[in-house]
C-alpha cells in the first residue's frame, strides 16, 4: 500500500487515544501516584540533607524536572504498549483492514501518546508550583514543553516497537524492570550526573532520557549540566530514529 498520510486519519486515531485516556480516570490517577510519591518523599526527605554545590538550587528544585520526565516517560511507554491490548481485544484488526496506511495509524498513536504524556507531565508541573517551583518566563516553560513532547513521541514509539513484537503482557514487566527503570535511573533525574562514579558516566551519556531531563531542567530552572541545544539535537535525533524504527516494526505486525 502507498504510504500516503492524511491528516483526517491521523486525527481519528489520535482522537480515539485521547478519548480512552480521558475515560480511564483510574489510570490517570494511578500513573500520577508514583511520580508524586517520589517527589514528596525524596523531595522533602532529602531536601535538607542534600547539598548541591554550584547549582544554585535546593534538592527539591533539582528533583522537579526529573520527576516531570519520569511521568512523561512512563505515560508514553504505557501509551505505546496499549497496542498489545488492541491486538488481544481484536480492535487492531478493525484498524488494519481499513483502507488506511500503517504510517497513518502509527503517527496517530504516537501523537496521541505524546499528547497524553504531555498532559501528565503538566499535571506534575502544576503540582510542583506548590512545592516551590517558580516559572519566571514563558520562554523557559515552552522549552520544557518541547522537551516533554520529544520524550513523549520517542518513548511512545518505543512502546509501539515493543508492542509490535509481543503478543501478550507477560514480557511487559521485564521491559519495565530491565529497560525503563535503568533508563530512568541513569538519566540524572534524581541526582546530578557528575556525582556518579566515572565508569558509569558513559552509560548516562547514551541514555536518551538524560538529554530530556537536562532540557526540561534548563527550561524550568535556567541552568543545566549539558548544553540545551545539544540536548535538543540529540533528543530530536533519537525521536526520529525511534519513530522510524517503531513504524518499521509496526508495519510488520501480522494479524
Amino acid at each position: 500500500m502507498e504510504e500516503e498520510i492524511t491528516v483526517d486519519i491521523v486525527y481519528t486515531i489520535w482522537l480515539r487515544h485521547i478519548k480512552r485516556y480521558i475515560r480511564s480516570r483510574s489510570r490517570i490517577i494511578g500513573s500520577l501516584g508514583m511520580p508524586l510519591f517520589f517527589l514528596l518523599v525524596l523531595g522533602f526527605g532529602l531536601n535538607s540533607v542534600v547539598d548541591l554545590p554550584g547549582m544554585g538550587q535546593d534538592y527539591m528544585g533539582f528533583l522537579i524536572p526529573g520527576i516531570i520526565s519520569m511521568s512523561v516517560l512512563f505515560t508514553s511507554v504505557f501509551s505505546g504498549i496499549q497496542i498489545i491490548w488492541d491486538k488481544q481485544f481484536g480492535f487492531l484488526k478493525e484498524t488494519l483492514v481499513a483502507p488506511v496506511s500503517r504510517m497513518e495509524i502509527m503517527l496517530g498513536q504516537t501523537l496521541g501518546g505524546a499528547t497524553t504524556s504531555l498532559i501528565q507531565g503538566l499535571i506534575i508541573l502544576v503540582f510542583s508550583l506548590f512545592l516551590g517551583l517558580n516559572i519566571s518566563n514563558i520562554y523557559g516553560f515552552l522549552v520544557a514543553c518541547a522537551f516533554m513532547v520529544l520524550i513523549g513521541l520517542s518513548f511512545t514509539a518505543f512502546g509501539i516497537a515493543i508492542a509490535s513484537k509481543m503478543d501478550d503482557m507477560h514480557g511487559f514487566q521485564l521491559i519495565i524492570n530491565f529497560v525503563i527503570f535503568p533508563i530512568f535511573g541513569l538519566s540524572g533525574a534524581l541526582f546530578p550526573l557528575n556525582s556518579l562514579p566515572s565508569w558509569l558516566q558513559p552509560l548516562t551519556l547514551i541514555d536518551p532520557l538524560a538529554y530530556g531531563v537536562e532540557g526540561i531542567r534548563y527550561g524550568l530552572l535556567g541552568t543545566s549540566q549539558i548544553n540545551p541545544y545539544f540536548c535538543f539535537i540529540v533528543l530530536a535525533g533519537f525521536t526520529v530514529f525511534m519513530m522510524t524504527f517503531g513504524s518499521y516494526l509496526f508495519r510488520k505486525i501480522q494479524i
Binding site: T12, R16, F89, T95, V97, P99, V100
Partner: protein, 328 residues
Amino acid sequence: MFAIKVENLTKEFDGLVAVDNVSFDIEAGEIFGLLGPNGAGKTTILSMLSTILKPTSGTAIVNDLDILKDEDGVRKSIGIVFQDQSLDEELTAYENMDFHGRLYRIPKNLRQERIAELLKLVELEDRKDSLVKTFSGGMRRRLEIARGLLHHPKVLFLDEPTLGLDPQTRNHLWQYIENLNKEKGITIILTTHYMDEADKLCEKVAIIDMGKIIALDTPQKLKEDLGGDVITIKSPDADKIYSKIKASWVKNIESHDGFVTINLENAEKHITEIVSLSSHNNIDIESISIHKPTLEDVFLNFTGKTIREQEFNTKDQMRMRQRLWRRR
C-alpha cells in the same frame, strides 16, 4: 456477474496447508456459505479475500479488483465482521461507528446520517451512547454488523456471525442478513459450522474440509444429490451393525460415535429388515429414525465424519475456548 472469483488460492502456515488450491466463484447478490468444521480454513480464506493475509499462491478477484494488486480498492469495497470481536469496549456504540466512518473517509453529514440509520436498523439507537463494554454478546454482534455496513460495501464478509448467540438472537440475525441481501443487494459471504444456518440462509454452500472444497452447490441440490432417505441408528454396538449390513439397497453407510447412518431409497421398506437383522445378531438398538437428508448427512457422506466429530479433535479446541472466554 461475479462478485468474487477465487483462483487456485493457497495458504500455508509454516508447513501446514490451511487452504489448499481452492477455486470458486460467487455471484453478485448471492448469500454464499462456507461450511466446515473448526480448522477447515474458512477464516483463512476470508482473511485472504479481505487482504489481511497474503496468499502463498493463487489469487482472487473481488469486485473486479485483484486482491494482490489493489489492496486499497478491495478494502474500500468490502465490509467484514471478524470471527473474534473487534470493537473498542472503552468507546460507545456511536463512537465505534464514527471511528469506522472516519477511517473510510465518509463526509461528516453523510456519516452521521448513516450511523443513525444503521443503529436504528440493528435496534441499538437507544443504547448508542453506552460504552460497548456494557453490551451483551448479541448487541455487540449487531453493532459489528452495522459497522461493517457503514461504508456501503458491495460485498460483506461475515465470519461465524452467530457463534455463541442464543437461538432467538440467531434467528433475528438471520432475518436481518436476509433483508440486507434483498433490499440493498449486498453480496454476503458467511462462514458457519451450523448446518441449519447454512441450509436456511445460503443460496449456495461450499463445504470445506481440511483446506479443500469438497462440494459446492445449492443446499437443495446437495441434499437431492444424496437422494432418498437417511436412517440413523443409535446403538452401543454401532460398529457391529456397520459390518453386518451389507444389502444392495445401502447407498452409503457410515459409523460414527455410537451412531450408524445409512443412506438409502425407500427407508420405510427396509427398516424392518434392519431391525430383524440386528435382533438376529443380538445387537442392541437404542433408537432408530428415518429422515430426509440434511446438510449434516451431506457432510457425513463427503467426509465420512460428522462435523462435530471433526470439531473436537484438534488443537483448535484450545482456540475455541479462548475465544469464548474472550467474548464474555
